[in-house]
Every structure is written in structure tokens, then in C-alpha cells.
């Protein structure tokens, strides 16, 4: 459904991307990994039209996104980035903000249909019980779930997430990613997410795109990308790659300087 062709884009000096080519199929979960400053977020921003490509194009269902109205794009693509504080807004009102792209030009009140979708999204993500709480009162794990519910209210076909598990403990990391996996299965939602944690990326993504210095280094299943040679080259860190005994997915273990000296 999404095709990135020869994409070159970026800001003036840093985080430039060049010659990016990849496809994402409907219903896939694709993870974008790479060191800090490699251009992962820039790639997400290009897909959401925040920055314009200098060369190449991005096609959504074979249509160049530059030719799609941003309002129409918002009905197909939802983005979850970091939450920033808003005062005095309840969870329900917050989720309702996701309906904005669907309002008609001079529509003033949300319709029954809008409220049903909001309710459905809150039930699906299991936050219906929080609906009258303020965003400031709930925990950061709950807040992340609310962000997902808001994105779902857009009724997207493609969901983009920028580091959805940062600052969360493992309970919430797993809860969020399990939820995303479930939504992917139940709604046939295509997901592209930027992840820092290689092991979470390995467990949850069907394919990984490893970006290094603005270029795609490798692309493929977790088994193909998460090899110790590749990781050591890109991250410049000594690692050991094992297999998770339950899921049989690759598992990256770090080696500290002290341990390295000892083993030598």
C-alpha cells in the first residue's frame, strides 16, 4: 500500500535521507530501527508530509502523497508521536480530536456516528473506564493508550508510531505493543513504527528497516537484519545475538566494556 521510491529529503544539515526505497504491504507491521540521528523520524515526517522530498516520491495506494489533500491523507494515515501536555481536557474529548479530519466544512457539532466511533475506539483499547478523567491525571502508560485510541478515531488504514514505548516500564511497553499487534490483526491495520529497542522490534515486527547515516542499511525479517555483524557495524557496539527460546526470534544482548575485557 505504501511505496517509497528514491526518496531524498531532510533539513539543511542534519538528518538527511538519501535514496530510500521500500514497500509496505497492507496488514504488515514494519519496524524502523537505527542509531540516534540516523534519520528514522525524518522518514516518518516525510511520509506524513511534514517535510517535502527533494527527490523521489512516496506513493500511497499508487498515488503520490504530494497530490493528496492533507485532509484526505489524515483519513488514511494516523500518526502517534510523543504526548505533550494539554490542560483541562478529558480522555473522551481527547479521543474525539481524532475525528477532526472527518468533520464537514461547516459542521459544528460532532454527530452520533462520531461519538460511536470514539466509544468503539475507547472500548477497543480498553480505556473506556477512563473517559471522564483528565489527561493530566492518568499515568503515562494510560496516556500512550489514549493516544492510540485518538489515532484509531481517525479510522486510518496506516498507523505510524514514533517510539511508542519510550519512558514506559516493561509492563506498559508490552501492553502497548500487544495492543498494536491486536489492532493489526483485528482491523487489518498496517503499522510502521520507529523503535529504539531492538528486542521489542524483533518480537513484534514482521519486517525491519535498518537505517544508518540517512541510508537504508538492510531490510528484511528480524532474522535477516538482526545479525551480530550488522548490529556491530551500524551501532559500533559489541553484541551477542541469541534466540528467544519461546518466540524463536533473535535477541540482542549487549556486552559491556568490563565484561569484554574479562572474556579476553
Amino acid at each position: 500500500m505504501l511505496k517509497v521510491e528514491n526518496l531524498t529529503c531532510g533539513y539543511d544539515l542534519k538528518f538527511n535521507l538519501s535514496d530510500i526505497n521500500f514497500n509496505v504491504n497492507k496488514g504488515e507491521i514494519v519496524g524502523i530501527i537505527g542509531p540516534n540521528g540516523s534519520g528514522k523520524t525524518t522518514l516518518l515526517k516525510a511520509i506524513t508530509k511534514v517535510i517535502k522530498p527533494k527527490k523521489g516520491r512516496i506513493l500511497l495506494y499508487d498515488k503520490d502523497i504530494q497530490e493528496i489533500e492533507i485532509k484526505d491523507l489524515a483519513k488514511k494515515v494516523a500518526v502517534i508521536s510523543q504526548y505533550s501536555e494539554i490542560g483541562y481536557i478529558t480522555v473522551e474529548e481527547f479521543v474525539l480530536l481524532g475525528r477532526i479530519p472527518h468533520y464537514k466544512k461547516f459542521q459544528f457539532l460532532e454527530t452520533k456516528h462520531d461519538m460511536e466511533i470514539v466509544k468503539k475506539c475507547m472500548i477497543l483499547t480498553d480505556i473506556f473506564k477512563l473517559k471522564d478523567r483528565f489527561m493530566g491525571e492518568i499515568s503515562s502508560g494510560e496516556r500512550q493508550t489514549v493516544l492510540i485510541a485518538r489515532a484509531l478515531a481517525q479510522e486510518p488504514e496506516l498507523l505510524l508510531l514514533d517510539e511508542p514505548t519510550t519512558h514506559l516500564d516493561i509492563t506498559h511497553q508490552i501492553r502497548i505493543l500487544d495492543l498494536i499487534k491486536r489492532l493489526n490483526k483485528e482491523l487489518n491495520l498496517t503499522v510502521i513504527m520507529v523503535l529504539h529497542d531492538l528486542n521489542l522490534a524483533s518480537e513484534y515486527c514482521e519486517r525491519l528497516i535498518l537505517i544508518n547515516e540517512g541510508k537504508i542499511h538492510s531490510i528484511g525479517t528480524p532474522e535477516e537484519v538482526l545479525k551480530y555483524q550488522i548490529i556491530e557495524e551500524v551501532y559500533k557496539t559489541i553484541v551477542v545475538v541469541e534466540k528467544n527460546p519461546i518466540s524463536l526470534k533473535p535477541f540482542v544482548l549487549v556486552v559491556t566494556e568490563e565484561a569484554r575485557k574479562r572474556s579476553n
Partner: protein, 338 residues
């Protein structure tokens, strides 16, 4: 859903009631007290009496101007705070008042109001404001993108520059001019020109209507500029139009009534605590309460040291600030975070 709209309607009715009450209070009180019971009688049958002339020539114009200016400033505050996602931004932060004050100062020291007429004072104020708006606007556009942080910084800097220039002018000006400048800067709803009052009323009402075309955009901006784009909002167009709308409202208010601080800062804040962040209710509520607040403060300014008058900016500052601190300490506020 229905519940929310009904709640909104009640809320708007309550604010209209408050506005009516403050206006009546303002009509009754002053150096000549007119009892509430007598008001209707005077309005309908008292033509020719002193009371009639006090009500229609003195108090009513002030109330109408207070409504227009208070509403416009509060509305402009809501829009700017929403757009910048910064609760400390107010209409004067962007240097618009400084520009207007500078325009008026120049007019006064060069005695242009004597050569032409007194009505050139608001005109110069407006020109000053317009100049600053354009300056801030074009300095903040980088590569076709209006940068919100630069808008704020440029505005604050221009505000400093113009207030320093005003001090410079004051330092070298003659004593009689000095009085005029200070009087103007402190702000007043005393406006002999009826046409200006009507114009202010028209502009602020139209401003309110236009702001409603942007409720979706403002709500989306709650999430941040980039997120608003993700929700299908043309953020570049929205930022520009909202900046122009709010600064135009501020410029008009400042040039008619001088610098009346605090309304644009406190009222939006205050109202947000009660109605939440949805701009559909926030815009109208802020407008109505800003209007009531300014009319009330102006009445106090007239009566506290009657027959002399306090500058209304002093009253809005002291009253607004104290009420705000009181409410802030009483109400459990959820501003997000832990």
C-alpha cells in the same frame, strides 16, 4: 453529546446574564446614582432629563466600548494562547501595543493632533500597531514557513524596543505632552467619538464570527503544530490567518482604548478552567466574560475615587490578578503532569 450542547447553552446564557447584570450595574452607578427601578422609566420616558443624557451620552457608550474592547482582547488572547500553546501569551506580548503606543506618542510630541484633529490619535495608534504586525510577521517567515517560536521572540523584542523608544520620547518631551502620553498609555474607555465606538463594536463582533471558522484548527493545535497537520489541518494557512486576525483585533482595541492590560491574559485562562479546552465554547465564553470583566472594572474605575477616575488598566490588573490567584489556590487544577 446532547448533554454537552445543553451544558454549553446554559453556560452561554449564564454569561449573557452576567453581562447584562454588569451593564445594568454600570448604568446605575456613578457620580450620579440612578436607582435600578428608575432605569427603565428614564430610558423610555425620560427624554430631555439629565438622567437620560447621562445614560445615553456618558454611560452607554462606555459600556458598548467596554463590551467591544473586553471581548476583542479576551478573544485575541484565547486565539494566541491556543495557537502558541503557551498560557503566558497575551495580545500585548507580540509588541502590538508597543507599536500603537509609539504611534500615539509621536503624534502627541509632534502636536499632529492640534494641526489635524484629535481623531488622528487612534489613527496613529492603529498605524503603529499595523507596522509592528507586519514587521513581526515578515521577520518570522523563514523559507515560506511562519515559525511560531520566532513569532513570539520577535514580538517580545519589538515590544521591548518600542517601550524603550517611548521612554526616550517621554524623557525628552515637554511636561504637557508627557501628561497626554501617560494618560493614553494607561488606557481608558472614555471615547467621545461615537463612530469609533460603533467601529470597535463591529470589528470585535466580526472577529468573533471569523474566529469560529477556525474552531477545528484551534482544537487540533492543542496537540501541537505537527499533530494538527496530521489531523488534516492546513497549519501554515491557519497560523497566518489567526495571527492576522488576533493582531488586527488587538491593534484596533489598543488604538481606541489605549493599553488595557490583563484582560487578554487572565480571562482566557480563567474561562479555560471552567469550560475546558474545546474552542467551540471557549471562544464565545471568553468574549462574553472579557466584555463583562472590562465593563465591571471600568465602573469601579469611575466610582472608586469619584469624581476623579482611575485608569481602567490599574483596576483590571489589580482585580484580575487577585481573583486569578485566589481561584488558582482554591480550585484543584489539572494542568497535566504529576
Amino acid at each position: 453529546m446532547k448533554r454537552k450542547s445543553i451544558y454549553w447553552i446554559y453556560w452561554i446564557l449564564a454569561l449573557c446574564g452576567l453581562l447584562l447584570a454588569t451593564s445594568l450595574f454600570s448604568l446605575c452607578t456613578g457620580s450620579v446614582g440612578i436607582p435600578l427601578k428608575k432605569i427603565l422609566e428614564v430610558i423610555f420616558t425620560g427624554k430631555g432629563t439629565t438622567e437620560y443624557s447621562i445614560i445615553f451620552n456618558v454611560r452607554l457608550p462606555r459600556i458598548i466600548l467596554g463590551f467591544a474592547i473586553g471581548g476583542a482582547l479576551a478573544l485575541s488572547g484565547v486565539i494566541l494562547q491556543g495557537m502558541f500553546r503557551n498560557p503566558l501569551v497575551e495580545p500585548y506580548t507580540l509588541g502590538i501595543s508597543g507599536g500603537a503606543a509609539l504611534g500615539v506618542c509621536l503624534n502627541i510630541i509632534f502636536r499632529l493632533y492640534q494641526t489635524f484633529t484629535v481623531s488622528t490619535l487612534p489613527l496613529f495608534g492603529f498605524l503603529g500597531a499595523l507596522l509592528v504586525i507586519l514587521l513581526v510577521y515578515f521577520l518570522s517567515i523563514k523559507k515560506g514557513i511562519l515559525k511560531i517560536t520566532e513569532l513570539l521572540l520577535t514580538g517580545v523584542m519589538i515590544s521591548f524596543i518600542s517601550s524603550s523608544l517611548i521612554m526616550l520620547i517621554m524623557a525628552v518631551s515637554r511636561a504637557e505632552d508627557l501628561h497626554g502620553i501617560i494618560f493614553w498609555i494607561m488606557g481608558s474607555l472614555e471615547e467621545p467619538n461615537l463612530i469609533l465606538i460603533k467601529l470597535a463594536l463591529l470589528i470585535s463582533t466580526i472577529g468573533l464570527i471569523i474566529s469560529y471558522l477556525f474552531w477545528k484548527d484551534l482544537n487540533a493545535f492543542l496537540l501541537g503544530e505537527e499533530e494538527a497537520l496530521h489531523l488534516g489541518i492546513n497549519t501554515e494557512r491557519t497560523k497566518r490567518l489567526l495571527f492576522i486576525l488576533s493582531s488586527f483585533l488587538t491593534g484596533c482595541s489598543v488604538s481606541v482604548a489605549g493599553i488595557i492590560g490583563f484582560v487578554g491574559l487572565v480571562v482566557p485562562h480563567f474561562i479555560r478552567m471552567f469550560v475546558g479546552t474545546d474552542h467551540r465554547i471557549l471562544l464565545i465564553s471568553a468574549f462574553l466574560s472579557g466584555a463583562s470583566f472590562l465593563i465591571f472594572c471600568d465602573t469601579l474605575a469611575r466610582i472608586i475615587i469619584s469624581p476623579l477616575e482611575l485608569p481602567v488598566g490599574v483596576v483590571t490588573g489589580i482585580l484580575g490578578g487577585s481573583i486569578f490567584i485566589y481561584v488558582l489556590s482554591k480550585k484543584q487544577i489539572i494542568l497535566g503532569g504529576k
